[in-house]
């Protein structure tokens, strides 16, 4: 994010530079301190502690034993742990890519006209983001039940053959959870992207038109590059949400059928708090954190590259 870039700009001072008299400086530490203390105590220290636990075999109750990288080895070799990461990646498709594509579509369409009542649409489309995922899960579990509204609707429409126990179907359970994620995330993507599109100077569209570009060219030459920042933000937000999804899985499928919807956070929870494998849980947490850092870094990187 550009946050990083501007930090460097602010920090790149040479010797011989003299600070403005009376500009607050040391006092900066004072402002940061309270927040930093709370943050360090409840985020940084526990994270370090997690790292420590991840090198131990520990049931959470009795004393732990150092096992080195064993837990990590399990994360990468135990198919039942490894697959949770695969599932998370599939969810990225639904939480991040699908909303992004839909959001871009809308942004492209709406970028060139003033929409009456856009604020109402925005508010409505953002609504799914607002409701607790737990509630969302309950609602959708009901909708997706074997004779829930969805299947009833399908049968009423004469598509009874497509009706299925969505959440109990090995092929469909994960996409179903994913589509609920799409439902939740779409509003976020669309609000940010449409807003971003409306910040693109209209003269750029005019210039492209005068230069002879059609609507498709216009999208690739003006809209898409103009939305670079928003796309990065949307992708980071939705991708991390996908990678760490827990609530929906907990409420909707409990990881089933089989382990087909088990995700890292869910596995972490059962390992740490139910089956007495706190070390494994911690290792999953660390790997998950690293995965998210890599993804976020990659997204911002690609975002930056596409601009240069």
């Amino acid at each position: 994010m550009t946050a990083a870039a501007s930090v460097e700009a602010a920090g790149g001072r040479h010797r011989g530079d003299v600070r403005p008299p009376g500009e607050p400086r040391r006092i900066g530490y004072l402002y940061v301190l309270p927040g930093l203390l709370v943050y360090a105590a409840f985020v940084l220290v526990p994270f370090g502690h997690t790292l420590w636990i991840s090198f131990h075999a520990w049931d959470g109750i009795t004393p732990s034993a150092w096992v080195g990288l064993d837990n990590y080895r399990r994360v990468f070799t135990d198919p039942q742990v490894r697959e949770t990461f695969t599932h998370a990646l599939v969810l990225v498709l639904f939480y991040a890519l699908l909303p992004l594509v839909l959001g871009l579509l809308l942004a492209a369409l709406l970028s060139r006209m003033r929409v009456r009542g856009i604020s109402v649409f925005r508010a409505v489309l953002f609504l799914p983001q607002v409701v607790a995922l737990v509630s969302v899960g309950i609602v959708w579990r009901w909708i997706l039940a074997p004779d829930g509204p969805l299947n009833e609707g399908l049968r009423a429409a004469g598509l009874g053959s497509s009706a299925r126990p969505w959440l109990g179907d090995f092929g469909w359970a994960l996409p179903s959870v994913g589509l609920v994620g799409t439902w939740v995330m779409f509003g976020l993507a669309m609000v940010l992207l449409v807003a971003g599109a409306q910040k693109i100077p209209t003269s750029l569209y005019d210039a492209a038109r005068v230069d002879g570009a059609g609507p498709v060219r216009e999208f690739f030459v003006v809209t898409l590059p103009g939305l670079r920042n928003e796309i990065v933000v949307v992708l980071v937000l939705t991708t991390t949400a996908a990678l760490r999804s827990f609530d929906l899985v907990y409420v909707m499928t409990g990881g089933g059928p089989g382990t087909s919807t088990s995700v890292p956070s869910y596995r972490l929870y059962t390992a740490a708090f139910q089956t007495g494998e706190a070390g494994l849980g911690a290792a999953i947490g660390i790997v998950l954190a690293i995965a998210i850092f890599i993804v976020a870094f990659a997204i911002t990187r690609v975002g930056e590259r596409s601009s240069t």
């Binding site: 409840f42 997690t50 420590w52 799914p128 509630s135 609707g153 929870y269």
Partner: protein, 273 residues
């Protein structure tokens, strides 16, 4: 020009997406207004409209106390994290001091790190010092996490605030706290408001943290009690629907009242990435 057709298509799509967004919510509303003993299927219109399901769900799920717990946790977290991240964001956004960029990266780390990665030691450490099963067991970690976000958010805002505004205030004789309180706070109301709504939403809706921290179930947050209610009353769709609405209601209320400012804040400068 094909203006009218284009407009029609655009509005059509917007309406379609809106319907998709609203349908499940509408379905659950319709369901909830059925009486607790009615036989409900799909999107049937309740006949008669009744609040009985809400009443029964409220009683059975003991949502009164869990809403209260959630309200306490959420308001404390919002208040604490807002004040603290205003201070940190102000420092990072307007002051230059040794190590400030490093410190900022430290905060940035918490923004991306999944808090699932810290929940294991948090739980065991809190249990040792007796913080589990108290509201503080939830408040402290969520405050810390919100500070990571708030610092990022407010810093971006303070950076985008016109530098000359700060300088004008300094020349006018304001101290550093004076600049923050008298000039930047009022100026930054939309950004701050947006942060408040986001933190409110996230804290209120949190599930995993309270599931772990409040495992004793002497106190429950609203989403937690909703899930317990669900596993007990799985078959009773109306009650479940009513309970879901009860739990979502406060956030919805906050959202509806603030959405104008909130969405404006979301889409304006602060999220410049």
């Amino acid at each position: 020009m094909s203006g009218t057709l284009e407009r029609a298509v655009n509005y059509g799509l917007l309406v379609l997406f809106s319907v998709l967004a609203l349908a499940p919510i509408a379905g659950i509303l319709l369901t909830a207004f059925h009486g607790p003993d009615a036989v409900v299927s799909g999107f049937a219109i309740p006949d008669p409209f009744t609040l009985d399901s809400f009443r029964q769900a409220w009683k059975e799920g003991a949502f009164g106390s869990s809403l209260w717990t959630s309200a306490m946790i959420t308001s404390t977290t919002v208040a604490l994290s807002t004040v603290l991240s205003l201070l940190t964001g102000y420092a990072f956004g307007t002051m230059r001091f040794r190590g400030s960029s490093f410190l900022f990266y430290v905060f940035l780390f918490g923004l991306l790190m999944p808090f699932e990665a810290t929940i294991i030691p948090l739980y065991f450490d809190f249990r040792r010092i007796g913080l589990t099963d108290t509201v503080w067991g939830v408040i402290l970690p969520s405050t810390a996490l919100s500070i990571a976000f708030g610092t990022f958010w407010m810093r971006a805002f303070f950076l985008s605030a016109p530098r000359s505004l700060i300088e004008a205030a300094r020349i006018d004789g304001a101290s550093s706290l004076g600049v923050l309180v008298r000039v930047l706070l009022p100026y930054g109301r939309p950004a701050i408001l947006t942060m408040v709504v986001l933190v409110f939403m996230w804290t209120w809706n949190d599930f995993l943290l309270s599931l772990v921290m409040l495992s004793g179930q002497n106190i429950l947050t609203a989403p937690l009690s909703l899930v317990f209610f669900q596993t007990q009353r799985q078959t009773h769709v109306q009650l479940l629907a009513a309970a879901s609405i009860i739990v979502a209601f406060p956030v919805l209320l906050v959202y509806v009242f603030l959405q104008r400012h909130f969405i404006r804040g979301m889409v304006s400068g602060s999220l410049k990435g």
